[in-house]
Every structure is written in C-alpha cells, then in structure tokens.
Assembly symmetry: C2
Homo-oligomer: 150 residues x 2
C-alpha cells in the first residue's frame, strides 16, 4: 500500500462520517510493517464526546490493540490538518509520520495558530507531509457545510 | 463548596493517581449548580492510552452524563497546568472556567509554549485562574519523580 491508498482509505472514512451527520474527517493508523491498525471518522456527535475526532479514535484504538501508550514507528493519515488537541496526542503517542490532506485555517494546530510541533514543550515531533489529496478532502468539507446551510 | 475545596478534591485524585504509579495529576468537573459531575486522576498507564489525562477523563465523563458534546457553564479544576491536548479539549467542550494549580514549564500549553487560548483558531476561551494550591500540586509531582529516580 502506498501513502495514496492509505489516504483514499481515510477519505472513505470521512465520507462515511458525513453520511452519519458528522464533520467529514477520516483517519487511518498504519503500523511499522505497513498494516492498517485502525480506521475512523469523526464521531463527536454520535458519542457526545468533543474529543472523539478521527485522529483520537485511531490513536486510542491502536494503543489498545498494542497494549501500549506509544505507537512508535506508526504512521497516521488524516484528511484534514489536525487540531491542537489531536496534534498533541500525535506527539504524545510518538507517531513517526503524519500525512494530512487539506489545511485548516479555521481550527488547525500544525501549520496554523498554535503550531504544536514548534515549541520546546513538544517532546516528540513527527515527520509531517501535507497537501495529500487535499482537493478531495476540502471538497468533502465544502459539500458537507453547504448542505447544512441549505 | 468553594474553589479551594474543589481543588482539594482534585489533589486527592492526584494522590490516588500516584498510588497507582501514574503521574500525579487530578481533575474535578463541576456543573453550573456547583455539583461535582466527575473526578479523575491520570490513567495513561493503566489504560495504555496517551490521551487518558485527568482533564480528558472528566470531560468525557461529564459529556457522557449530560449527553452533550458541550459542558457549557461547567468549571474544571486541575492540579497542573493543562497540556495543549487538554487545553484544546477544554475549549472544544466550552468549559466556562479553568482553575489550575502548578505551572508546567515542561509540558504546559496554557501559559507556556503553544498558549492554546491565545490564537484565533481557539473558538472558545475559558476564564483562567492559576496558582491555586500550586505548592501542594508541585510537591506531589516532585515526590513522585524523586521516588522514581530513587
């Protein structure tokens, strides 16, 4: 599997989230051998849990499966730039590489606003690859919010 | 109950966390009528979950109890300055007031490093009261880490 197919998988999760009435963001967690450990879309509404972002759900599930607080060597694919909460959780989990799609000027925390990975208080910095299938991820979000205004 | 007794309650949770071998941080969530909704200490090791900080646990429990993603009007007491993950979750949950004890120059995200509440990407800013019972909270952490080095 290439990084593009993992991002396609994350986009599928984002579409499924939209179908559930959730903000369409999807994430996929991949272990050091390239196996998918966990997939999720946002479930904040369904679970009435403001922390149930797609990234948080795959991190928690991956840690549960590995029985470890750390996901050393694992890669995370997410369709939208993580918010500061998720960026910090990515660091705490020691994720090796973060691949994301669209930038999020409104709520992002990687290249915007608090830029979580740029401070001395960030004890692990993943490699970051942005802009992957960004158009598809952004289109999903646009359609979702246009539909809600309609 | 005054804010000092809620912080004493949070300190009790921190002590209980230390007894379980967890970093001693405790949190208490209080509803708009002054009733305690949830209490927790860190459980990252026990749960093998890097997101299981005391603050996250009480936010998730409070939301579960209220059946809502938002804790509008609720107050959060925590013995240590929240990290960026928890600070963002506090904002996302629309917590009204954050009372915390010791500053955390190493990993804090409120007055240190990313200063989560200071960016336009932060859509809700709680009132923040710091330094409450800070000496007790800091002493617990010092004793815990001294014991682990011994």
């Amino acid at each position: 599997m290439t990084f593009r197919s993992h991002m396609s998988d994350a986009l599928e999760q984002a579409r499924a989230a939209a179908d559930r009435g959730e903000v369409p963001v999807g994430a996929v967690l991949v272990d050091p051998d390239g196996r998918v450990l966990a997939r999720a879309g946002n479930r904040t509404r369904e679970l009435a849990d403001p922390t149930a972002h797609a990234e948080m759900l795959v991190i928690r599930e991956g840690c549960r499966l590995l029985g470890s607080e750390r996901l050393t060597g694992c890669d995370l694919y997410v369709t939208l730039e993580p918010c500061p909460m998720c960026a910090q959780a990515i660091s705490a989990a020691r994720i090796a590489r973060l691949y994301y799609g669209a930038a999020d000027p409104k709520s992002g925390g990687v290249e915007q606003g608090p830029r979580i990975f740029t401070h001395p208080q960030c004890h692990h910095i993943p490699e970051v690859y942005d802009g992957i299938a960004a158009d598809s991820a952004a289109a999903l979000l646009r359609e979702f919010f246009a539909g809600r205004r309609g």
